[in-house]
């Protein structure tokens, strides 16, 4: 048998002012712009109904763009149907053909892509090898476990060497234990072959773990684009701050601006951080639960409303003058009693001002 290699023809994807309107004025995607660079894994992240799946289906050619342009590589694909685009998609339900064996499933696309008959078998086998399903050729999809079915779906898409590979919530039908494994496998294959991947999920942890870049979507529009770290450390608004990781959103007052640095006060507590172009006056502050320091000398007053031991850390709910906040502490030996008063401060890095009104 001729050993065939599966390589990649990775190409960038460009969205230009793309909108999608369903039926009578239901706007699913509202004028979005972004670029997926070749060979990178970009995640479309957002709550359900935010338009992320529609966006993915527009790349695949399964939905027609209402206005705007989509380019894959050098080609303007805006009006091309799915059949004629050089993309492949892994469906949420896997969409394996139940009447075909595993090998027939993986060979399916190759037959229509102009590969010579002699090569199809070899390529399909290589694809199955790549996802670790050697020897499953003659099984039917119904005879495979959920994880195996998913890998067949990945192999079926991979062997076409598409310019862009699309994943629609690939982990949602797997059980929790498998998810970490599979997402690492997907990331490894993407890195090894240098594929351009667009990946849809509603799970922020999954997005942070696999992505080069994340496009956070909300109400049919893009809320923020950035690397996982950028999104986590400097969210542009309270939606992103809360959706990526957890964040306490506190009211604060910018009391002084000194170049790039702002001085803020929370109750009587003073703290300095990047101003992000905010003027003086009331503002909003996002603080991760882990970036909160308890019982230092400096801080604002709070009482412990709830203290929970979860093994690796302590979780506290604190009542303050402006509402309750949530904090986690690594110190599990010296714990705080419910009802005790504490001073709440912030770690040197962590809190960010949210540039919105």
């Amino acid at each position: 048998m001729v050993q065939t290699e599966i390589s990649s023809k990775a190409a960038p994807v460009v969205f230009q002012d793309v909108s999608k309107v369903f039926g009578e004025g239901v706007v699913a995607v509202d004028n979005i712009n972004f670029t997926v660079e070749a060979g990178r894994l970009v995640t479309l992240l957002g709550p359900s109904g935010c338009g992320k799946t529609t966006t993915l289906r527009m790349i695949a050619g399964l939905e027609r763009v209402t206005s705007g342009r989509i380019r894959i590589g050098d080609t303007d694909v805006t009006t091309l149907p799915a059949t004629d685009r050089d993309v492949a998609m892994v469906f949420q339900s896997y969409a394996l053909f139940p009447h075909m064996t595993v090998l027939e499933n993986v060979s399916y696309g190759l037959g229509f892509s102009g590969f010579p008959k002699s090569e199809i078998r070899g390529r399909a086998r290589t694809g199955l090898d790549l996802v670790g399903l050697k020897g499953f050729d003659d099984r039917l999809p119904s005879e495979l476990s959920g994880g195996q079915q998913q890998r067949v779906a990945v192999a079926r898409a991979l062997v076409l060497e598409p310019q862009v590979l699309l994943f629609d919530e690939p982990l949602s039908n797997l059980d929790a234990k498998l998810r970490r494994q599979v997402r690492e496998d997907i990331r490894a294959i993407q890195r090894d072959l240098g594929l351009t991947v667009v990946y849809v999920t509603h799970d922020q942890e999954e997005a942070l773990a696999v992505s080069d870049q994340i496009v956070v979507m909300r109400n049919a529009a893009i809320a923020q684009i950035g690397s996982p770290r950028e999104l986590y450390d400097s969210p542009v608004d309270s939606f992103v701050a809360d959706f990526i990781g957890e964040a306490n959103l506190l009211p604060c007052e910018v009391v002084a601006i000194d170049g790039e640095i702002a001085e803020i006060s929370v109750d009587s507590y003073r703290y300095r951080l990047a101003s992000r172009g905010l003027p003086k006056g009331p503002a909003k502050l996002a603080v991760r639960p882990a970036r909160i320091v308890l019982d230092e000398d400096d801080g604002f007053d709070a009482t412990v409303a709830k203290a929970t031991y979860v093994g690796v850390r302590m979780e506290y709910t604190l009542d303050t003058s402006f509402g309750s906040i949530f904090a986690v502490q690594d110190d599990v030996t010296h714990t705080l009693e419910t009802g005790s008063s504490v001073k709440v401060g912030f770690k040197p890095t962590g809190p960010v001002l949210i540039p919105e009104t």
Partner: protein
């Protein structure tokens, strides 16, 4: 676990069935009352001493029917364990043995002794001439039989079968016994009847001579003569199956995969086969293409040709059956065509298949079960169809009509009817088997429930054009035919006096007031009310048997479940004609003697329509999560209470559907009914066929039109009721989900 009082606590079900057994033995007339099952003159007419009305115990006391005496033993035995514990091994053993022995003895004496004494010559040889005889079972025997059956099932349950669940074991036992009695026993009887000689013995030669009859297997049509009925039926059924399947597929594709605007109108098609008595299409065709039909006359005038009788024979039957059964194929295929998960087709497209390739390699193969089902249905319906071949067949003999003429015609040849029925059954069962084989082990279920957004792609163009044309033409034809039915009912004498009149309706449905009050003077009222009555009695029973069977199939696991399912679904593959013949052969003589009564009609409807109830029940029960039952069980209800309080209320839509469906089917059925009607119990359909045979087309068509509208009303009522209930349910579940 609930506390079970270890001390002697009599089990209510046990007490009930023991008491019932004694009542049946001591108080109720043992033999069937000739006046009818629901007549009670016997109470004042010599009961309990008159031999005809006496309970078993009085018979024995008078020294008659002594073979009933041994029944006392198994009847008395359970009394000794009434107060013992369920876990007591004695309890189970006594009940099992008493129930089994009692039931077995009942059956043995029922079959062993008939209206001419011993039924088997070896019994006479062994015991000498009996000098006595007995008739069919009556109330007493029936109740005692049930008592023994349920004592037996309680015994088995006590031994630990199905976790000792009395309700489930009893339900299984009950269903097995009635299916055996009313499906397998008559079929078996018919099979035997094929071998019976004139003298009452059995002989293979008799069977062979009837089986290898030229009228059955002749191939004369290959050289211009006539072919045998078997070949005719087979040939016709295959063409009808194939034609209805492809037409049904065309309609389904138009509805689900085209931009066609009037999909709702097409969906109306699905109602047609349910509400149309099968032979009505044949009547309409005669109005169009018969010797004095509109089209024939027009054609003759325009082209100056002689009108011919081309319609009578294969062409007419073929067209009529295709018209009648295409909607059934559509009904089957629309579900399957829409059930193909859109993401399958989308996946194929992202894998670079174009729309035609997608359709050919993915959509069409995934519709295979639907295609097979539709073909099978068309095949079986065509095989079993009785009305259309009778109306349009001419010299084209098919099995179903041949069976009818073998048993009601001048030839009166039970053996021949039995042989023909067996051939017919062989064909339908083979089709059933071939279908299973063809589908094989491959999976076709595509609906995974999760993440199946998306819409079906439109048909590829090279498919869309022919499909739309075919569907359009056939749709127009169907509309014309149904229009003819309504119009024809108002025409005085088709082709002769084409004036419009209400005459036929008046003849059939006139009402007069006289000194005695309302008088239903129309000629159709008798059969109309009988039909409504029988259908109304049969419907709830059908639904009950169907739903209990569905409950057992979806909710319980037990040994032999597959055979159980096969047995209950078998009557679906048995053509009505076969059921009709075998009921006549089996239930004309003791122990079950019900021919000529309304009961036999009701029973035949129950078992003809039961598969529909079972399917409906299974469909909706598999949507109710099993945890509902389990939570009810852990809250202390037993399985009967769970069924009644949890499952049944949630199944209301399915129950209603099964009710209306079996009601309507009972009104339109003809193939089995034609054998089973009697002067007293004439059904609408057989009355209409009678009118047709007398060339009284006007009345026949007027009556059919009335039936169609009555049933349309029933179906519309159902739609309203079910629709409302479903909305209520959805709102109810929204909070729980």
């Amino acid at each position: 676990m609930r506390r079970v009082n270890p001390a002697a606590e009599a089990h209510p079900a046990l007490v009930f069935w023991i008491a019932a057994g004694w009542v049946g033995y001591l108080l109720l007339p043992w033999y069937g009352i000739e006046d009818g099952f629901f007549r009670f003159e016997w109470l004042i007419d010599g009961y309990p001493f008159d031999e005809e009305y006496a309970p078993a115990v009085f018979l024995i006391a008078q020294g008659e029917k002594l073979w009933l005496a041994p029944l006392l033993l198994p009847l008395a035995a359970p009394l000794f364990v009434v107060r013992s514990r369920k876990t007591d091994p004695e309890f189970a053993t006594v009940l099992t043995i008493a129930g089994a022995l009692g039931f077995a003895w009942l059956i043995a004496q029922g079959f062993g002794i008939g209206i001419r004494g011993f039924n088997f010559s070896w019994l006479t040889a062994l015991f000498g001439d009996l000098g006595d005889r007995q008739f069919g079972m009556g109330y007493g025997a029936l109740i005692l039989a049930s008592s023994f059956l349920f004592l037996f099932t309680q015994g088995i349950a006590a031994r630990g079968a199905i976790n000792g669940d009395v309700f489930v074991v009893s339900a299984i036992g009950g269903v097995i016994v009635i299916v055996a009695t009313f499906v397998f026993f008559p079929i078996g009887r018919t099979f035997l009847a094929a071998f019976i000689t004139d003298t009452g013995g059995y002989s293979l030669a008799v069977f062979a001579s009837k089986f290898f009859d030229d009228r059955l297997w002749g191939l004369g049509c290959l050289w211009g003569a006539r072919c045998g009925a078997a070949w005719n039926s087979l040939f016709l059924a295959i063409i009808v199956g194939a034609t209805t399947t492809s037409l049904g597929l065309s309609f389904a594709l138009v509805v689900s995969r085209s931009g066609f605007r009037f999909k709702r109108g097409l969906r109306m098609l699905t109602v047609l086969p349910i509400i149309t008595p099968p032979f009505v299409i044949g009547l309409a065709l005669i109005l169009l293409f018969g010797l004095s039909g509109t089209v024939t006359v027009l054609f003759a005038e325009v082209f100056g040709t002689q009108p011919t009788r081309w319609l009578y024979g294969l062409p007419g039957v073929l067209i009529a059956q295709t018209l009648a059964y295409t909607p059934i194929a559509f009904l089957v295929l629309i579900g399957v065509v829409e059930g193909v998960s859109p993401s399958m087709e989308e996946a194929a497209q992202t894998l670079r298949a174009n729309t035609w390739q997608t359709f050919r390699t993915v959509s069409l193969p995934l519709m295979r079960p639907g295609l097979a089902n539709a073909f099978l249905l068309g095949f079986i319906e065509s095989m079993a169809d009785f009305g259309n071949p009778l109306v349009l067949g001419g010299n084209f003999d098919v099995l179903s009509t041949e069976i009818f003429f073998a048993i009601v015609g001048a030839q009166y040849d039970q053996g021949r009817a039995a042989v023909l029925a067996m051939v017919l059954l062989f064909f339908t069962l083979s089709a059933f088997y071939v279908q299973r084989m063809w589908l094989g082990r491959k999976g076709y279920t595509t609906v995974t429930g999760k993440g199946d957004a998306g819409v079906h792609p439109l048909m590829p163009r090279r498919l869309a054009v022919p499909v739309m044309v075919v569907a359009g033409i056939w749709g127009a034809f169907t509309v014309t035919v149904y229009g003819m039915i309504v119009y024809g009912s108002f025409v005085e004498l088709w082709g002769v006096r084409n004036t419009l009149t209400l005459k036929h309706y008046i003849t059939a449905f006139s009402i007069r007031f006289n000194e005695h009050g309302l008088h239903w003077s129309g000629s159709a009222w008798d059969s109309f009310w009988t039909t409504i009555q029988i259908a109304a009695v049969a419907a709830p029973l059908t639904a009950a048997v169907g739903l209990i069977t569905a409950y057992l199939l979806t909710r319980q696991t037990f040994a032999g479940k597959n055979a159980f399912e096969f047995g209950t679904m078998l009557s679906f593959a048995i053509p009505g004609t076969v059921i009709g013949v075998s009921y006549i052969l089996a239930f004309n003589v003791p122990p079950i003697e019900i021919t000529g009564t309304g009961i036999i009609l009701v029973v035949s409807f129950i078992f003809r329509n039961m598969p529909v109830g079972v399917r409906a029940g299974i469909a909706s029960m598999s949507q109710l999560d099993k945890s509902l039952d389990e939570s009810s069980l852990t809250l202390g209800a037993n399985s009967w209470q769970t069924f009644r309080r949890v499952i049944l209320p949630l199944l209301r839509p399915a129950i209603l559907a099964a009710l209306v469906f079996s009601f309507v089917r009972a009104m339109t059925a003809i193939s089995a009914v034609i054998f089973l009607v009697s002067a007293e119990y004439d059904m609408a359909t057989s009355y209409i066929i009678g009118r047709v045979e007398n060339n009284d087309y006007g009345l026949a068509i007027a009556y059919s039109t009335t039936l169609i509208f009555v049933m349309l009303a029933a179906v519309a009522l159902l739609n309203r009721l079910v629709g409302r209930i479903q909305i209520g349910r959805r709102a109810h579940f929204a909070t729980g989900a």
